[in-house]
Symmetry: C2
Subunit: 346 residues, 2 copies
């Protein structure tokens, strides 16, 4: 078991190399040992549409060398014909005698791999570093289980929880180092989401391949920086007039733009994870409706000392502290001079 | 040098044993090595009025055993007749050949020890782990250099920086574990300071040997819990009527209760460090006036999501983030489920 943990960690590491590239597929890494227990191959799922990790690792080997060997993989091998044939079939073909798994694939389309392997006489060990395996594919499992994109809220505040002054100035709360780190975090997720207020107040560029802007009354000028790159989805309650001259912009119209509507439309478009960077109102509405899978909270060593400055989250009115929404701290990182605290729902 | 660092760390450890007990004196620990470099004694300043660390360590030894030896101490040995005779004299008498020091004593009354030792032919090495040594006696050095008590601000907030709901409910932001830890921190400092608003809103007990309450208009009922133990100083702008029946309470009156006035009065009374536990207004007034030596910020994994809930610091009105007061992070500690971030002034 100990030995497999070591290889499972290698699987996680391999899997993470493709972070941000496999959506809507999970992150998967694989290690193959020969019958003597020596590592003879490794592989990972590099990109949506390309080989699964098991296939990537096994196809590097001559047909017979894996006979009697062990395959370690962080997710239950698939059992369906998607872009590629089922991995479970290839594992059986190649004559492995044991498969070690971290997470079970709860996707009804792809699951059943373990059963097929066992029916073929292969020993299956499951649950190795399962918590870490589930964490690695938190986006994927949220998609499968909740049928919506994984929601990440990012905020950067002063010690007193403020994101900008009353007059809207927010440049800059955190240091260059923290902002750079936040930009790196963005790339892990399929899209970033922000509000017209943020676009109007800060005119940010927010480089990303996919950007979502909630602009109910179409207040944003389409010459703003944010529209200059990436695929853009604008959620609006106002029908855009005239012809859309911007091939990279899609308007998504509804009578009422609710978070439910947004998440449904994004999920339809296979946007599986959303990094929300916005003011207190938009972040607060996700908190209020309970659509939060992760919170990145950057804290700068500053005090506005101004109660009228704007808070990171707004939208509820509570009279008792016990009504506050609870989360759990999952990580703390020093990004000197700032700090990054990461939370998940309870 | 390396060797001395090790012993200097022992000095720090010994010194810390008396935390909260030596005020207005510094925290000092001492190690004595014989002429062969073997540790033969250690000591520390246990309590105000008792022997200094060097004396504590040397008096445990027979008169001749320290001849040719080395004395390691985290603060320059004193050169004055206070409650005890000068340590520098005792070191010379005992025939040590070398003294190793971390911090220089900037107290004009006690300094001059190094000079005296050198004049007696003793080699003095100074600056060993000096930063840590200065940190250990941050209270003492602030007292000497700024001629006022060391000011610690403590707050406990939600992720969104709130200390209570709009209606004043604050029970409880942080977990039992964090609150216990905060009570332990209190004991390190000479006194705690709070406002009548906190007493009226929460009726806290706040156990401490010395408590300071700012109650400008004498609104607090003296039967409130906080008055039941410890020595109490009430700062007020209203002359108390009638006879003070409470032997543990002293009223300190002034036309206008300013922070300057409070700090001056406390310093006169040899209250050398103050742990401020209060709402945003009182904490904010210390921030506004720049009287902050340390901030303990406990953060609970909760979001009020309510902009009208009360902030941890208030009192300024700023229009630009660049006007926010800057601090530096000096420590972060997981007190699961909460976090404690510690800051110092820049």
């Amino acid at each position: 078991m100990d030995n497999y943990s070591k290889y499972m960690r290698t699987c996680f590491k391999l899997a993470r190399k493709a972070e941000g590239k496999t959506s809507p597929n999970p992150l998967v890494g694989c290690v193959v040992l020969d019958k003597f227990g020596n590592k003879i191959s490794e592989g990972y799922h590099r990109k949506y549409g390309e080989n699964h990790a098991e296939r990537d690792a096994l196809l590097k080997l001559d047909k017979d060398v894996a006979i009697g060997g062990t395959l370690i993989v962080n997710l239950e091998p698939c059992n369906h014909h998607g872009k590629t044939p089922p991995c479970s079939d290839l594992i059986i073909e190649r004559g492995l005698k044991r498969v070690v798994i971290s997470s079970i694939d709860t996707n009804p389309v792809a699951s059943g791999g373990i059963k097929k392997l066992e029916n073929a006489g292969i020993e299956v060990i499951q649950g190795v570093l399962e918590e870490e395996g589930n964490e690695l594919n938190e986006v994927f499992f949220t998609n499968i289980n909740k049928k919506r994109p994984f929601i990440v809220l990012k905020t950067a505040t002063t010690i007193d929880g403020k994101i900008s002054t009353k007059t809207g100035d927010s440049k800059w709360i955190t240091s260059d180092r923290a902002r750079k780190y936040a930009r790196k975090l963005r790339t892990k997720y399929d899209a970033i989401l922000t509000s017209s207020s943020t676009v109007l107040a800060d005119n940010p560029e927010m480089k990303h391949k996919t950007k979502i802007i909630i602009d109910r009354y179409l207040k944003c000028d389409l010459s703003a920086q944010i529209f200059k790159n990436g695929k853009i989805y604008i959620f609006t309650e106002k029908t855009p007039s005239g012809v859309n001259e911007y091939p990279n912009i899609e308007f998504i119209y509804n009578n009422e733009i609710t978070i439910d509507f947004i998440l449904e439309e994004l999920f339809k478009r296979k946007i599986m994870s959303v990094f929300v960077e916005a003011g207190g109102k938009l972040l607060g509405s996700f908190v209020k409706e309970g659509y939060v899978d992760k919170i990145y909270h950057f804290i700068a060593p500053k005090i506005t000392n101004d109660n009228s400055a704007k808070s990171a989250f707004d939208g509820d009115t509570i009279s008792l502290i016990s009504q506050a929404k609870g989360f759990k701290l999952v990580d703390m990182k020093k990004l000197y001079p700032d700090v990054l605290l990461t939370y998940k729902p309870l």
